[in-house]
Subunit: 162 residues, 2 copies
């Protein structure tokens, strides 16, 4: 399997999991969080499938495609270890859906980041809220749920808050 | 259709067209050219599907993933308007397969680049050789051929030399 195959599997799975999670949480109130904007392709997709939702973007510096740049007041700029706890103070445990694609090239580094980030993300979700991640996360109370049929196991993960 | 959808379609089509073109030219001798290396994901795929072929990479500066970096003697470093004519002098019209993903964000700029680049690419192909491109190209003698069933029309193009 080539790196192109792996990449396609990751992108296809990300889309499938986001579509699935958006449908599962359609009746829940609360905001959506995108951790990391990058090029903005995934944010653009999230806006398309959840047009009526507040989607907050957590990012160090905005460098996205002009078509996929969130409004200023929907960006929480800075280090996630500061901006995520700040969001918890501001919004409480209300998030309906959180997405993160940590996806660097270095798998060991991604895994270390996932371990560090999990306890910071965990309190943000509302009861029944979902976390979609491109890497395995390390939550204490959230449980992993089944992927939709069009996602590739191991390329995407979905966790549900109790 | 979101930018994520478009991107997935482009990547899936690129893979489908490369697999198709590699199969169609399997019995032809001659080298393969990759125009632009980028991250190296597509090069990695080309090496996987054509392990016994000389694959030359044309790039300004190598910035690929360590797993997808070609050997030094397979890289033709510099401006394609110089390195492609140099390759024609060195190898003659022998290329079995040429791939280019010009794919920037700016469609008008991509199209202008495709128009400028087409006459420089055209003489490099052997008779029956194929060009796989992510943008419409402007060749005088090459003809567009049908895409494989798993490619999305408009997201990839295949041209054959007479």
């Amino acid at each position: 399997m080539s790196r192109l195959d792996l990449f396609i599997n990751r992108m296809v799975s990300q889309r499938a999991c986001l579509n699935h999670a958006a449908a599962l949480t359609a009746d829940m109130p609360g905001p959506v969080y995108e951790l990391g904007l990058g090029n903005g392709r995934t944010y653009h997709h999230m806006v398309e499938i959840m047009p009526d939702r507040d989607i907050y973007v957590f990012e160090r510096a905005i460098a996205s495609h002009p078509d996929s740049t969130p409004p200023d007041d929907m960006v929480l700029l800075g280090d996630v270890y500061e901006t995520l706890p700040a969001a918890l103070k501001r919004f409480g445990p209300t998030a309906r859906l959180i997405h993160a694609d940590l996806g660097g090239h270095n798998l060991a580094k991604n895994d270390a980041f996932a371990r560090q980030l999990s306890p910071v993300i965990e309190p943000l979700l509302a009861s029944g809220g979902l976390m979609v991640a491109s890497d395995r996360m390390y939550f204490e109370t959230l449980s992993e749920i089944d992927l939709p049929p069009d996602a590739v196991p191991g390329r995407c993960f979905i966790y549900r808050a109790p």
